[in-house]
């Protein structure tokens, strides 16, 4: 097993580099000039200034040389300087990532915690009102556009009922908790500051529900289908013939056999939540990676885009590795 993990990690590094190369080539070949995107019209109209700028950011070098410089920096843990923010890209990412990680993790837990039980219930009580409800909810979650759902939720629970706080991670006048992780829930809990914890938690509810909606739908459907399949297996009938309780038959005999596709989907969903929170973060003014990505892309900020690509692809690869490893835990037939 350790050898397997080592092999997979090595190939993950290679894959991440390959992804960065692809992104590098695409962003270098698209029409559009980051310099022009940054400069005002007057500065951009002066060819000398433009040339100086291009030289300053190394945009006058041949493509392969630019990629070489990027790799060189990468070897030293340096992702370069963002053209837009003029700060090291790594610093930017470290600043924005925790907000996204916190949001995505809560949304993921929500999706799992709601989707799996709902899927199981729908399969066990197939073709009853429980099943219909679960299917209606998952259809709604999958098909409702994120921005629409976000506005509706804000309008109802913040604007009308006043049950939820507004956008942002904390109350604007509150001090964000100091802490090592940048995850407000964790930092405030570590500091014992429960007032801040409640504030952060309350701010998380709406964006997490919005972000999780589609994933809840997918996980419910997948769990339902996998459970129906497992419940139809011979060994489930054998378990019934043994006179075991319904709960034992469903949870001990059927569920473990239904989890493989759910875990596969869950892994992908978590990676997607991390990378795909752009819409939600924008509507809820969430200072996370999604908004950073959006701004960098709009500004054709090459170093930032490259850095984000690396981080996102590394996340995908890690999550995939974890998913593959979990197969062995779930199914003894996969173990070597």
């Amino acid at each position: 097993m350790p050898r397997y993990i080592a092999t997979r990690l090595l190939s993950a590094v290679a894959m991440a580099l390959l992804a960065s190369l692809v992104v590098f080539l695409i962003s270098a070949l698209v029409p559009g000039d980051p310099v022009l995107a940054q400069m005002g019209d007057i500065a951009a109209s002066n060819p000398r200034t433009v040339l100086e700028w291009r030289a300053k950011w190394g945009l006058d070098l041949p493509l392969w040389e630019r990629y070489g410089i990027f790799l060189q920096g990468l070897a030293h843990g340096d992702l370069g300087i963002s053209i837009a923010t003029r700060r090291p890209v790594l610093d930017d990412i470290v600043q924005y990532a925790p907000a996204t990680v916190e949001l995505a993790t809560i949304a993921f837990l929500l999706a799992i915690g709601v989707g799996i039980p709902l899927g199981i219930a729908a399969a066990v009580w197939r073709d009853t009102w429980v099943d219909s409800l679960a299917r209606a909810l998952s259809l709604l979650g999958v098909s409702a556009p994120t921005f629409w759902l976000a506005f509706i939720m804000l309008a109802i629970f913040y604007g009308w009922l006043g049950w939820a706080p507004g956008p942002g991670r904390m109350d604007p006048i509150a001090f964000p908790p100091e802490g090592p992780t940048g995850l407000f829930l964790l930092d405030s809990a570590l500091a014992g500051d429960w007032e801040a914890w409640w504030d952060a938690a309350a701010h998380l509810v709406l964006p997490a529900v919005v972000l999780a909606a589609a994933t809840i739908g997918l996980i419910t459907r997948t769990t339902r289908a996998a459970m129906l399949d497992a419940l139809g297996q011979d060994f489930v009938r054998v378990a019934r013939a043994k006179g075991l309780r319904g709960r034992v038959v469903v949870l001990r005999h059927a569920l473990p056999n239904a989890l493989v596709p759910v875990v596969t989907l869950g892994g992908l969903a978590y990676a997607n939540l991390l990378a795909g929170a752009v819409m939600t973060e924008t509507v809820f003014s969430w200072p996370g990676l999604g908004r950073y990505t959006f701004r960098s892309a709009a500004a054709l900020d090459f170093p930032a885009i490259m850095g984000i690509t690396l981080v996102v692809s590394a996340t995908y690869l890690m999550v995939n590795l974890l998913v593959d490893l979990s197969y062995a835990a779930l199914d003894p037939r996969v173990r070597r």
Binding site: R237, G243, V248
Partner: protein, 670 residues
């Protein structure tokens, strides 16, 4: 029969189970009644769709939607099973009454260790504490013949063969000392020698613990080895109930008569026409008013179409649902077997197919990065000669390499080494393009007729395809005449050419496959288990058809099967394979009458025919990953000597036309 005064374990009275479909209620079980006393054994036999499995599931109330019990009663020691609450039912199932299912490969939960699967219901029914249940589980596994039971208990199901898993299933079944064990086709998925072991185990359970057994099977022979009494089911009804031995020798219902005579026996002469009844069971949605068997019955009288016969006592202790035999008269014996002309193919002629020292190894994935590459030794040096017009049977248990051999001789796969000649041409290393002109001369018939027919192609198109592909016809219209000829040859109606495969029954689909294999007028037909997926009656139809075609078209057959009696009925010569080698070869009638290799002796004796001396072979074939030294069979051989471990016996002549690979041929008898 039952001692007076004892309460029967199981009393079934007028049981009716239906499937609620959009078209109406399908009457799967329609008024079934029987009684099983303490320690009694009852078999239920019938073809697929006769309602035997639904009966078993109804007894345990394990039916799933849309099946529903709509009438009758099931009493277990006087308790009304159909009236039990969910809680009572759970307490009874798996405790006093247990059930074993057909497929041991899917009946065990793949993610739960064997130990827990054997102990969980002992604990949940309060029969054992967890600690005691563990000890008992290991003890049960040992008694069921599981090798190294402690280690087995800690393993997962996928680490075991089908036979071992069925032993585990039996251990699960009897864990709480049930009074009744219901077994639904428990050996159908297993090889004959393993089947004999499991049936022996079931007999032992009945004799040692007095467990009453209801055994459901499509095979009267299997039932005969375990059960004293049998109920024959047809179209949801019991049509005959009697002592098993009586039904086997003197069936009193025409359907039972057809079942008994449709099965080839090891002692029936070569080329025997089997009794086959045409048609299928009537619609269970709307059964005919008279006898349900009337449309297929060779003995019907006018009363049969008008009046539904009740189950009547036709002799002491036996009942049948038939107007013809109600007066106690027996049915006539089957028409005297029209013995096929036994041809002795010309010796001097060069063989149609000749393989020398054929070997096929399959390398598997490397273990680890630099580990060894494991190799499956599927075929390990086979010499093969098939003369023109001859039918050569290849028999052996699963994993013996017989299907691989079929793919080698048709060059669907290339041999690892050895040589192969077809009609004098060395085709050992022919490329796919070089094989192409030879393809029309080799027809193939596979086991699963449904899987080998394209579901989106009409049968007419499927039959026209080889004609178009090999230039025998330029257009579909041109091919049409030949397609209709082919369909007529295999007994299919011409108007069925527009139908799709799913519109046919299993037997008809196999006729289509046979027609397809004949489309290009082959010299050689390679048939890999062509009848093993079929009901006995359909099997008889297909075997009769293949015999006819052999005589009419002078075909040569390589016939691969695990069922010895089928091979015996069809083939001139038989080769027995074990672990990728031929261990014995000879003329079919001599080989089965006087087997020389101990493995052949065990195989023939394992065939579940009543009155046969049984040699129960211990163990299972060794792994094909590493071949044993010396004789591959020695670990299971009852007469193995030290020399068997050192020297591999070659396949050598042991009399006219007979060869055996054994150091002591002919010294072991059943």
């Amino acid at each position: 029969m039952r001692k007076p005064g004892t309460v029967p374990v199981l009393e079934v009275e007028d049981l009716q189970t239906v499937f609620l479909t959009d078209a109406g209620a399908v009457r799967a079980v329609d008024g079934v009644s029987f009684t099983v006393g303490p320690g009694e054994t009852l078999g239920i036999v019938g073809e697929s769709g006769s309602g035997k499995s639904v009966t078993a599931l109804s007894l345990m109330r394990l039916l799933e939607e849309p099946a529903r019990i709509i009438g009758g009663s099931v009493r277990f020691q006087g308790r009304d099973v159909l009236a039990m609450s969910g809680e009572e039912l759970r307490g009874w199932r798996g405790d006093r009454a247990a059930m074993v299912f057909q497929d041991p490969m899917t009946g065990l939960n793949p993610v739960i260790r064997i130990l827990r699967q054997v102990t969980e219901h002992m604990v949940s029914h309060g029969r054992q504490t967890p600690a005691k249940a563990k000890l008992r589980a290991v003890d049960l596994l040992r008694r069921m013949g599981v090798a190294a039971p402690e280690r087995a208990a800690a393993s997962f199901p996928h680490q075991f063969s089908g036979g071992m898993r069925q032993r585990v299933m039996l251990a699960i079944g009897v864990a709480n000392d049930p009074l009744l064990l219901i077994a639904d086709e428990p050996t159908t998925a297993l090889d004959v020698t393993i089947q004999a072991q499991i049936l022996d185990l079931m007999r032992g359970l009945n004799q040692e613990f007095g467990t009453a057994i209801v055994l459901i099977s499509h095979d009267l022979g299997v039932i005969g080895t375990v059960c004293r009494r049998v109920a024959v089911m047809y179209a949801g009804e019991i049509v005959e109930e009697a002592e098993t031995a009586a039904v086997l020798t003197d069936p009193r219902h025409p359907y039972a008569w057809a079942l008994v005579n449709a099965v080839p026996r090891l002692d029936s002469p070569a080329g025997t026409r089997l009794v086959s009844i045409e048609g299928g069971p009537p619609s269970a949605l709307d059964p005919p008013p008279g006898c349900r068997f009337v449309a297929r019955c060779p003995f019907r009288i006018s009363r049969c179409g008008a009046e539904h016969p009740p189950l009547m006592e036709v002799a002491p202790g036996r009942r049948a649902r038939c107007w013809v035999t109600m007066d106690g008269s027996p049915l006539p014996p089957p028409p005297v077997a029209a013995e096929a002309a036994f041809r002795t193919p010309a010796q001097e002629e060069r063989p149609l197919l000749e393989g020398k020292d054929l070997v096929k190894h399959f390398p598997l994935g490397r273990i680890g990065l630099f580990g060894p590459v494991p190799v499956v030794h599927a075929v390990n040096g086979v010499d093969l000669r098939l003369r023109r017009g001859e039918a050569l049977g290849i028999v052996g248990e699963s994993g013996c390499g017989k299907s691989t051999l079929a793919r080698l001789v048709t060059r669907l796969q290339a041999p690892t080494s050895g040589t192969l000649e077809f009609d004098g041409q060395d085709i050992t290393n022919f490329s796919a393009a070089e094989m192409r002109p030879l393809r029309p001369r080799m027809g193939m018939v596979f086991q699963d007729p449904y899987a080998s027919l394209n579901p989106r192609m009409t049968v007419g198109d499927a039959l026209a395809e080889p004609l178009l592909a090999h230039g025998r016809a330029r257009t579909r219209a041109e091919a049409r005449g030949r397609v209709l000829d082919l369909m007529a040859t295999v007994g299919l109606k011409p108007e069925w050419a527009q139908r799709f495969p799913h519109e046919f029954s299993g037997g008809q689909r196999q006729r289509v496959s046979i027609a397809r294999s004949l489309a290009l007028e082959p010299d050689l037909v390679v048939a890999d288990e062509p009848v093993s997926a079929l009901d006995v009656n359909v099997q008889a139809q297909v075997l009769n058809l293949m015999l006819d075609l052999r005589e009419r078209l002078g075909l040569s057959y390589l016939f691969i099967a695990h069922d010895l009696a089928v091979v015996r009925a069809f083939c001139d010569r038989v080769a027995v394979m074990y672990l990728g080698r031929i261990v014995e070869e000879g003329p079919a009638h001599e080989l089965f009458a006087r087997p020389l290799h101990p493995y052949t002796v065990a195989l023939t004796s394992a065939v579940p025919e009543p009155g046969r001396e049984r040699v129960i072979l211990a163990g299972e074939p060794p792994s094909t990953l590493s071949l044993p030294t010396g004789c591959a069979f020695r670990a299971r051989c009852p007469i193995a000597q030290p020399v068997c471990a050192e020297v591999r016996p070659p396949l050598s002549d042991v009399g006219p036309g007979r060869r055996a690979a054994c150091h002591f041929p002919g010294t072991f008898h059943a």
